[in-house]
Amino acid sequence: MPELVVENIHLKYGAVEVLKGASFSVDKGQIAALLGPSGSGKTTLLRTVAGLERAYMGQITVSGQRVLDGENKLDMPAEKRGLGFVFQSYALWPNRTVFENVAYGLRLRKVGEAEIKRKVNTVCEVLGLGHLQQRFPAQLSGGQQQRVAIARSLAYEPAVLLLDEPLSNLDAKLRDEARAFLKELITREERAAVIVTHDQIEALAIADTIVLLNGGVIAQEGSPEDLYNRPRTLFTADFIGNNVRLSGKVVEAGDGFATIDCNGLRVTGRMGQPKAPGEEGTAVCRMDRLSLAPSIGPDTVEMHRSTSMFLGEKWEHVFRLGEHSLRVLTEGPVDLATAPIRIPRESVWVF
C-alpha cells in the first residue's frame, strides 16, 4: 500500500469550490509533484493533506491510518497527523536557534534530552548545518534557512514529507543544487514526499510522479516522461514544455496523425484525441524541437525571418508566415531571408 493515499478531495472557500475531487498516491521513497498554474489548488491540496485546510469530502490515509474521512466525520488536526511540512516561507521561528527549531518536534514528543541532541546532530550533519546549530534564523542565508526548514521537518522522522514550493525563494544557481540534493535526500531517507511547484522544469526533474492540477481537478497524473511525451489533454500538452499554439482546420487525419492548416501554415502532429478532416483543431508544438531544414521536405514549412537575437549560447530567430510567428534556435547566425522550418511531427500534438 502506498505511504500516502489521497482520494476524492473536495474543498470550498465560502461558496467557491477550490478542489473538486483530487486524488493521488505516493509510495515510500518516491516524490510526487503537484504541478499546475496559479489558482489550480495545488497548495490548497497540500495543506489539506497536512490538516491545515478542512475538506468537506474525501479520504486521506497516511501509513495505513485514516486521517481524514469525510463520510465518517473524521478530520484529525494537523498536530495528530505526524507529517513533515516545509513551508514556502520556511516559517522558521525567529526567536529560536537552529538547534531549537529542529529539536521542537522531538521535544513535543517528549524525547529525552540526550536523544534529542543526538538526533538533531545527525539530521543537521546530513543537511550540512552542523556548525550553525546555535545561530538564529535571521543570521542564515536563504539556502541555509531552507535546509533548516527541511531538517526541522525530518527530525522527528515523519513517514510523509510535504513541501510547498521549497525552492522558489532560492536564486537560480542555488535552486539547481538544492533540487538535486533534495531528490537524493528523500530517496536515501526513504520518505514519501509531495512537493508543490508551479515550475514544470523543477517538477520534471525532481518527481517520480507528476500530478498536474487544473481548476481543482487532476488533469493528468503520471511519470514525467508520460506527461511530456504522452499528454492526454490540450491543457497538459500546452502546460508542459515551452510551446507554441496554432489553431486551424484539420485537413488530413489518419494513422494516429493529423494535419491542420492554419491560414497556410500546415503542421502535422500526433492526435491527442480522434479528429476528422474539416474539424477545428489546435496544434501544440514544442518550441525547442523546431529547427532549420536544409531543404523543403516532410514536416517543413517555408517561412520569412523577421529578426534574430544573440542569446549567448545560441541564436534565436523569429520566423513569420502570415500572422503566425515561430521562434527557432540555431547554433550560429543565419542570414537567409526565408528558410524551410522543420516542425517534427513527434513533437506536435493536435487536439
Binding site: A50, L52, P77, E79, G82, F85, A91, N95, Y104, L108
Partner: protein, 557 residues
C-alpha cells in the same frame, strides 16, 4: 474531532461578561425599585418619568451642544495639526509629538481642576490678569462657551491620531505627481492629500461626537456649579438626588445614553472598515517630501504652541502652583503662602495614601491581569472562522458604547445581584472587573493586532510539527507577540492610572483610587489636597508615557 470547545467556551464567557451587565440594565429599567428590593414591580413608567423631566432634556441638549461643538472645533484643528506635523516643515515637530499625547492620557479631572485654579474666578491667571490690566477677566470658566472650548481643545489629539496615521500612509509620490503636473503646495494639499484622508477625518468626527456623550469630568467640574448637567452628570445626580440611589431612573438614563452611543459606535466601525479599504498602504515606506511653509511655518508653530499652552501648560501650571500654596486669592502674594504641607497630607491621610497605592496596584498588577483576560479572549478568536467569534466581534461594541461611569455602575449592580460576589462589592477586585469591562474593546483590539502580526505559517509550522493549540499559543504566538503585549500592558497602565469615572459607584472603604478620590475631594471642596494628588497622578502618567516612548511603544494605538 478538532478540539474547538475551549474557543467556544472562552467566547461564551466573554459574551456573558458583556451581556450580563446590559441585561441587568434593561431589566432594572422596567422595575419600580432597585432590582434587589422586595417591593420592586415591573413598570414602564420610569421611562415616562425621565422623558417628562425637564432636567433630562436640558442635559441632553447640553450634551448635544458639547458633542457638536467638539466636532466643529476639534476635527478641523486636529486635522490641521496632523497635516502640520506629518506633511510640513514646521519647526519643533520632534518634541511636539509626545506633548500632543499628554492631554490624551491626562485625567480630565486634573485638567478640570487645572482650569478652575488657573482661570477660575480667583485662579492664578485670573488674578494676574486683574493685576496687570486692572479689570476683571472677560472670560467665565463656568460658562457654556468656555466648556465647549475646553472639551474641544482637549479632544484635538483624538482627531490627530486618526488623521496623522492616515496621512502617513499617503505615498508622497501621489503628491509629487500633482506637483509635477503644476499644482502649488496648497492646491496639492487640498485637492490631492485631503480627499485621500477624508475617510479618516470622518471616522474621527464620529469618534469625537461619541466621546462627547461620554464626557463626565470636565462638565462635572466646570458645569455643575451653575447646575448645568450633561447626560453623564445627570445620571450621577440620581445617586443622591432622591435621598437614596434611584436605580430604576439611572437604568433608564443609561439606556437612553446607549441608544445614542451604540449607533455612533456601529457607524464608526463601519466607516473605519471602509476607510481601511480605501487606504493607499503600499508596503514600501516612502520618504515623504515635506511641504515647505516658508515664513508661515512660524505662524503654524506659534499656533501649535498656543494650543499646547491651553491644554497642557495652563491647567498643569495651575494645579502645580496650587499644590504648593496654602491659599490663593486676589490679595495673596505667592511667597507668603508657599508650603509643602499638601504633599505631607498625601502621606498622612490614610485614605489618600491608600488611593495612591491602590491606583498603582490596579494599574500595574490589574492592568496585567486584564491583559491576560484580553489575551485569552484574543487567542480564542485568533484565526477562528467560527460564527461565535463573529458574534463576539460585534458584542464588544456594547462595552465600547458604555461610558466608564455606566460600566462602573453595572458592575456595582452585578456584585449586588450575585450573592457570592456581594461581600466584594466595594473591593479593589470589583474595581478591576469594571476597568476590565470598560477597556475590553480597546484591549482586545491591541491584543488581536499583535497576534495577527505573527506569521500564519509560523503557527502552522508548529501545528504540523505536532503542537496542539495550547502549545502553539505558548511556544509561538505569545513569545512572538511579546512586544505588542508589553505595549498593551503599558497602555492599560496609563489608562487605568487615569481612570476616574468608572470607580465612582464602586468606591468604598479601602478600594479608593486616585481618579475617584479626586472626584470626592472636589465634592468636599478640598482643593489643596486635590491639587497635590492631581500632581502625583500626572507624574505617574507622565512617567508611564516616558517609559512608553523609551521602549518605542506607539501611543496612538
Amino acid at each position: 474531532m478538532r478540539n474547538d470547545f475551549w474557543r467556544t467556551g472562552v467566547v461564551l464567557a466573554a459574551a456573558l461578561f458583556i451581556l450580563a451587565p446590559v441585561g441587568l440594565i434593561v431589566w432594572q429599567s422596567f422595575l419600580t425599585d432597585a432590582f434587589f428590593s422586595v417591593r420592586a414591580k415591573s413598570t414602564v413608567d420610569t421611562y415616562g418619568f425621565v422623558l417628562s423631566d425637564s432636567g433630562f432634556w436640558s442635559a441632553l441638549k447640553n450634551t448635544v451642544i458639547l458633542s457638536i461643538g467638539m466636532v466643529l472645533f476639534a476635527v478641523p484643528l486636529g486635522s490641521l495639526l496632523a497635516f502640520l506635523m506629518v506633511r510640513t516643515d514646521m519647526p519643533g515637530r520632534k518634541w511636539i509629538e509626545p506633548a500632543i499625547f499628554l492631554p490624551l492620557f491626562m485625567s480630565p479631572m486634573v485638567l478640570a481642576f487645572g482650569y478652575i485654579v488657573s482661570i477660575g474666578p480667583s485662579g492664578f491667571w485670573s488674578v494676574w490678569w486683574e493685576r496687570l490690566f486692572g479689570a476683571v477677566p472677560f472670560w467665565n470658566v463656568y460658562s457654556m462657551p468656555m466648556l465647549v472650548v475646553v472639551v474641544a481643545l482637549t479632544h484635538v489629539p483624538h482627531v490627530y491620531i486618526y488623521v496623522s496615521t492616515a496621512l502617513r500612509t499617503v505615498p508622497s509620490d501621489l503628491e509629487e505627481a500633482a506637483r509635477v503636473a503644476g499644482g502649488s503646495p496648497l492646491t496639492v494639499a487640498t485637492k490631492v492629500t485631503l480627499p485621500l484622508v477624508w475617510p479618516s477625518i470622518a471616522v474621527s468626527a464620529v469618534l469625537v461626537a461619541f466621546l462627547g456623550f461620554e464626557l463626565f469630568g470636565l462638565p462635572y467640574v466646570l458645569g455643575d456649579q451653575d447646575g448645568r448637567l450633561v447626560l453623564a452628570t445627570y445620571l450621577y445626580k440620581f445617586n443622591t438626588l432622591l435621598g437614596r440611589p434611584a436605580y430604576q431612573m439611572m437604568a433608564v438614563v443609561v439606556i437612553f445614553i446607549m441608544l445614542i452611543t451604540l449607533p455612533l459606535v456601529i457607524l464608526q466601525r463601519r466607516m473605519l472598515k471602509s476607510a481601511q479599504r480605501y487606504s493607499t498602504i503600499g508596503g514600501k515606506a516612502t520618504r515623504s517630501h515635506l511641504v515647505p511653509l516658508g515664513k508661515w511655518k512660524w505662524v503654524a508653530f506659534a499656533g501649535v504652541l498656543v494650543w499646547l499652552y491651553a491644554v497642557v501648560l495652563l491647567p498643569l501650571s495651575g494645579v502645580a502652583l496650587r499644590s504648593v500654596v496654602t491659599t490663593w486669592g486676589p490679595l495673596v502674594a505667592i511667597r507668603d503662602v508657599l508650603t509643602l504641607d499638601n504633599y505631607h497630607k498625601l502621606a498622612d491621610l490614610p485614605l489618600i495614601r491608600r488611593s495612591i497605592v491602590n491606583t498603582l496596584l490596579l494599574a500595574f498588577v490589574g492592568g496585567f491581569a486584564s491583559l491576560c483576560v484580553y489575551a485569552l479572549i484574543g487567542l480564542a478568536s485568533h484565526r477562528s472562522r467560527s460564527e461565535s467569534t463573529k458574534v463576539l466581534d460585534f458584542l464588544v461594541l456594547l462595552p465600547r458604547a458604555m461610558p466608564g461611569i455606566v460600566a462602573g455602575l453595572v458592575v456595582f449592580w452585578i456584585f449586588l445581584f450575585v450573592p457570592v460576589l456581594k461581600p466584594w462589592v466595594a473591593s479593589l477586585g470589583a474595581m478591576w472587573v469594571a476597568y476590565t469591562l470598560v477597556w475590553l474593546p480597546f484591549g482586545l483590539r491591541l491584543v488581536s493586532n499583535s497576534f495577527s502580526q505573527v506569521g500564519r505559517e509560523l503557527e502552522e509550522a508548529a501545528h504540523v510539527t505536532g503542537a496542539g493549540q495550547a502549545r502553539v499559543a505558548k511556544d509561538v504566538i505569545l513569545p512572538l507577540a511579546k512586544h505588542g503585549l508589553l505595549a498593551a500592558w503599558l497602555l492599560s497602565f496609563l489608562l487605568y492610572a487615569r481612570e476616574y469615572s468608572t470607580g465612582i459607584f464602586l468606591m468604598g472603604q479601602g478600594n479608593e483610587v486616585m481618579g475617584t478620590m479626586l472626584v470626592s475631594l472636589w465634592n468636599g471642596g478640598n482643593i489643596d489636597v486635590a491639587s497635590s494628588l492631581a500632581v502625583v497622578n500626572t507624574i505617574v502618567i507622565a512617567g508611564g508615557i516616558a517609559l512608553a516612548l523609551r521602549l518605542g511603544v506607539r501611543l496612538d494605538a
